[in-house]
Amino acid sequence: MEAKHRLEMKRISIEFPGVKALDNVNFNVKSGEIHALVGANGAGKSTLMKILGGAYGHYVGDIFFDGTKVDIRNPHDAKELGIDVVYQEVDIALIPYLSVAENIMLDKMANEMKGKHFIRWGNIHRSAREILKQVGIDLDTHTLVQDLSLAEKQMVLIARALATNTNFLVLDEPTAPLSQTETEELFRLMRDLAENQDVGVVFISHRLPEIFEVCETITILRDGQVVADATIDDMTQQKLVELMLGRRFEETYPKIRVPIGDVIFEVKNLIEEAGRVRNVSFSVRSGEIVGMTGLVGAGKTELCKTLFGAYPIKSGEVLLHGKSLTMRSPHAAVSQGVALVPEERRKEGILVDEPVFINLTLPSLDKFTRGPDFVNTRAERTIARQVIDELGIVTPSADQKVAYLSGGNQQKVAVGKWLIADAEIYIFDEPTKGVDVGAKRDIFELIGKLAKQGKGIIYASSEIPEILDISDRIYVMYDYAIVKEFETAEATEEEILFYSAGGQ
């Protein structure tokens, strides 16, 4: 069958201060197919798709649409060609205090109201409902977007793309925050769009099984260049990882065994004020990595934040070395030896506009002052360079703005700042989210090292295989409470999933 539309990107290159993000990249996609775009962090996937969506107008190279040369220099150009990109950060593109219908019809309202001044609400809601029905999503169009879950917000964005004529839909890591059922729902929608509506879907994901499940063709990027262009049948997971990393890679992460000591951190009947933590009790021993798992939305992030003093505690006790901690604020938590690497890296973990060294020394600036609180930037840079070496952070210098680092390297900065701070308890909230396999291994090694130093580690993640690889003990969360405890050696993925899903 001849494809309705063909999109070809030829010899695309783009530079940012200090980095050549893409170098002579060719990328082709046809309507009616689901095309995977994979690569390690910093390989240039998002950059390539931002060019396609018109977000980066300063690229070099040619783009052809159905064989005709086109110029995509701004989002409007992309829209004209029916190219829609749903970016990772869904909240940026949505207006929280407007309804689902208004958000879906936003482009239409913005572009097709020339000469008209009154909104026909009936039409807006009817059209929005039709689109939602078309994609098989059950949502009330009157709901405010701020009340939706992350998965629903994504659906609204996809529906918005479909509200206008869409030939190509780019989904940049859409499944990262989604639960299992939500992911399946998304896949169903993607297949429906490709098969029945002849849309070309570009799918970016770090989860390899997903790619094999849903995609037909695949393009692999490494360091800003294309290393493979193939149909999925010619690819295996092992081969894919090798191509992505450019080296052979063992799939599992060997756990570093360290002697486990006495209980150093204890949580007793912890209840958060707004009910975001419900009567949670658990303990962490020195040198122990405690896995905190559960589905997305089970309350892991909320627990992490409460343990860090970022959410108010209603009742219960948190003890470190048998001493009760006062958790009024993150400031109090940090000064008592608790560190948190938060989930939302760019929003909460790092300061993108500041250089690497300022980010790294931020929680422990007191160690780098002399006289009456004067900052010793030379000492800061020295320690920053040590951490950069130790964690293998790829950056031209300690003075580089963090914004210019790749996702994996940004995450290493978010972790690195707590190494200098030298805490007793380290809480990691989804530390491998949106991080490539190489950086993931580095982060695992680092966590192992911390355990070896006798620190207590709480590792929260919904990636069960990861938890099984790295932890000594596992707590399963469901509906803001701990429902099950496992010794990792005795746990299986199936069992954990069973309890995560609310099984009893």
């Binding site: 070099v60 400031h331 940090v334 948190l340 790092i350 300061l351 506009d353 929680p363 600036l365």
Partner: protein
Amino acid sequence: MTAATETTNKKRLSGIIDFLSKWGTIITIFVLLAFFSIAMPSFRTPSNMVTIMRSISIVTVIATGITVSLTVDGFDLSVGSVATFTVALVMSFFVWYGWGTLPAIIVSLLIALIVAVVNSFLIVKLHIFDLLATLATMFIFEGVAMTYTGGGSISQGMPRLDGTPTTGAIPAGFRLVGQSPYIIIIMLVIVMLVHVFLSYTKHGRYLYIVGGNREAARLSGIPVNRYRTLAYFLSALLAGMGGIMLAARIGSAQINAGAGYLMPAVAAAFIGFSVAGVKKPNAIGTLVGAVLVGLLENGLIMMSVPYYSLNIIKGLVLAIALAITYYRKHD
């Protein structure tokens, strides 16, 4: 034109914009100096240069207060009223109560910090937008100053509103604070202190970080609210200092004496953002901004532009400064 030359041209253009946003202010200062000097020989006399520096002293000090509030991504509109309030207080201590210089200054500044208490309560505790909260306190303390003085003015020998005669005098030493070179030296010292505080101390670093990303700062263990409060205390303190200098300069308390300093101070602080490519609120930049505003005002007055038209020019300068600050942010 090929795509490659197009990109180089674009690069060149953005390079020029970059250069102008970094050095445009300083270039403008020199262009203005040259222009006014050629147009009017009396402009370039040393005494006129001193006049300009003296005239910007109060604006600069008040502007450093705004600068500090800007570091935490806040905005203190109440600085003008703080200055007015401080003028009223210090004058009442001299004229009504016959206090000495030092106690009068210290007590006035301490009382002026009440504005900071109210500001930080409204902003940090009640979560009102900085601009709106300080707009409210601006009016409140303008009113407080007028109510306290019974109409706004106090001068030596003037009886109080209820007819009580006053005997206190304004000390000669205090008046010196308002004379050059002292007023200029005080300004330079304050600018240097604020600069060192913001650029070289832990607290300055934290203020900028809080302004850059409040949530990330909080989750890094920085007591965010404490630093936002600190910023408003410092801005009130600096505005109070401006008020003291103003009182010494005019030797009496006048209705809304400080109000006129708000606009040029805001302009100076925003012009200061981009000076030398700092891209952050900073004390030295603010001084440069104040020099630019002062130069323009002085030169235009000497060229017989009526004072009532000056606001048009000052407003335009503020608009341009804001344009330079915000234009690049949209890329």
